[in-house]
Amino acid sequence: MKPIISPVGDCAISIDFGQVIDPKINRHIRQTIERIQELHLEGIIELVPTYCALLLQYDAMLYSYSELCNIIEPTLEQTITDNDNELVTVVEIPTVYGGEFGPDLGFVASHNNLSEDEVVAIHSGTDYLVYMLGFIPGFTYLGGMDPRIATPRLSSPRTLIPAGSVGIAGEQTGTYPSDSPGGWQIIGRTPVTMYDMSKEQAALLSAGDYVRYVPIDEAEYNRIKALGSDYVPSMYKVEVGELRGY
């Protein structure tokens, strides 16, 4: 469908790309953001991408709604590139699975009639698209988890889940960026800081990145943890066709 622009109050617009959760729609949103940024417009205050919409806040002293629509419309026209050799960013998240770091790994395995090793192999064998960030700073909404390891949430949420915990809730997976209460099944933990408030680029991940969980042992966990914000996870470009699980 052709994206639809609509007003959100007097100082923002929403662009609706179609009410579907789909990697292609998400890529279209990212391309639109790049095209808007290439225009170097004054008075664009925030761009907030979500699953299938883009919120744009602007200075309404500089543009009226209809003027802004006329500027934005052409950035939506272009067709999305849809081939397997498009490059995307993969970010490796080293993770200790099981044990005290992942107390629910055993439950996820037995719930799905798998061994713990099989759960780890499946979970770390898929690359997950970051559709959007929201809820709390640095929290990523990931897509693409293998339904073979889907597991319902805990019947009673825990009061404290440590930052870095990697969990499963239904067919979703993700990482808790900060200490938080929560009901996800915790299968592991990463020593990587997902949201570093002391940095200008505070969030490790951006919408459109792919997450690759890499199993590590406790010694490696402690080594990375000790490095703190000096640790930079591996990031590289791969072609869409080379992503795992797609």
């Binding site: 639809i4 609509s6 007003p7 959100v8 109050g9 007097d10 100082c11 923002a12 929403s14 609706d16 009410q19 579907v20 959760i21 205050i45 925030e46 761009l47 907030v48 991408p49 979500t50 699953y51 299938c52 919409a53 883009l54 919120l55 806040q57 309404a60 002293m61 009226s64 709604y65 959007m132 960030l133 929201g134 809820f135 709390i136 700073p137 640095g138 929290f139 909404y141 960026p177 949201y195 408030m197 505070a202 969030a203 951006s206 919408a207």
Partner: protein, 344 residues
């Protein structure tokens, strides 16, 4: 007398008030990473306060809710009170809002339960000295971010006030309540009364409501429930009817967006809102009416008036021009600060 250099001072919190947080203009540019904006609920009163104490760049001020804190000054600082009328006092002398005052070592700043409005701002020249996170000192208590350890003030806190210099500040004696106010223009909220309708621009998701639902929304009075805080105002009133589902795929929202979950009762998203939400949004309250809404207490009724985007933006431009004029007036006032004499 002219003064121009002020050393770092501090304020000691003797009583914290009902819910007092440090706010500046908020975290702009980080919503794409899930970081909520925060910032003042009533940005108009906040900005006027900043101008009155001569701050050119906006910095951390105190947002008081219903009952202000009691503060003891260490050193010398310049303060101004704006927003709700909490009958502010310096050394137990009632002082007017919208006028800057100079305070010295041992002076006590306090006030009483609000007589009108919910949020009062106490601004300081130089601003409150707390660490900046993502470009802002604003407190977001639910995310435990910003301000002082991400929480409201507590008894025993001591807040630094940054050193500052000013071109020329004239100190005048404050002689009591009959003092002539020469900045009444600063109070004026563009001539609109507290309970005039809040103007709303319908959004694309208005299509998720029946015609009857939209009419219910625009024809009835909605009441502020006890569940009104910096994140959102939950309203009570006739149920707004959806076409079918109240759920959407989560998308972005702004200050003033009105969500309607399946129970049909609207929630207005306020300063501490989450960056994204999964309920249908019927529309968004216009910028000019948000400061007024922020000052309404629990139990008050409001109603909504639907306006077109063109009307909304005409109102916006006129509102901003007027606000800038008032800010300029407040900056002019900032050169003349008053001092309370302990014996009047």
């Amino acid at each position: 007398m002219a003064i121009n250099e002020f050393k770092k001072s501090s304020i000691y919190v003797t009583a914290p008030g009902m819910y007092t947080t440090i706010q500046d203009e908020g975290r702009v540019g980080f919503q794409q990473y899930g970081m909520p904006v925060a910032g003042p609920m009533d940005s108009e009163s906040y900005l006027l306060g900043q101008a009155l104490v001569g701050n050119v760049e906006t910095v951390g001020a105190l947002e008081c809710t219903l009952l202000p804190p009691t503060l003891t000054v260490k050193g010398t600082c310049i303060v101004a009170f704006t927003g709700a009328d909490m009958e502010p006092t310096i050394n137990n002398v009632r002082v007017p809002r919208y006028i800057p005052f100079v305070c010295h070592d041992g002076d006590v700043i306090s006030g009483g339960f609000s007589q009108c409005g919910v949020r009062m701002y106490i601004s300081f020249s130089g601003g409150i000295d707390v660490p900046s996170i993502n470009g802002s000192v604003s407190t977001h208590t639910k995310a435990k971010i910003g301000g002082l350890e991400g929480r409201p003030l507590q008894k025993g806190d001591e807040l630094g006030i940054k050193a500052f210099t000013r071109d020329e500040v004239h100190v005048c004696d404050y002689r009591g309540e009959d003092h002539t106010l020469f900045n009444t223009a600063l109070y004026n909220r563009g001539g609109r009364e507290c309970h005039e309708p809040l103007r709303v621009v319908l959004g694309d998701q208005a299509k998720h409501f029946t015609g009857k639902g939209i009419k219910t929304f625009s024809d009835n009075i909605y009441t502020l429930t006890v569940e009104c805080d910096r994140m959102g105002f939950r309203l009570d009133g006739p149920e707004i009817e959806h076409v079918d589902s109240a759920d959407i795929i989560s998308d972005g929202a702004v200050f003033g967006s009105i969500q309607v979950p399946s129970n049909g009762h609207p929630i207005v998203l306020m300063a501490d809102r989450q960056t994204t939400g999964g309920y249908t949004k019927i529309g968004t309250i216009i910028t000019a009416d948000l400061p007024r809404l922020s000052q309404l207490p629990v139990g008050d009724g409001i109603n909504f008036n639907i306006v077109s985007i063109d009307e909304a933006q005409d109102i916006y431009r006129a509102y901003m021009e007027r606000l800038h004029k008032r800010i300029k007036l407040a900056h002019e006032q900032s050169a003349y600060v008053f001092k309370v004499r302990n014996k009047i």
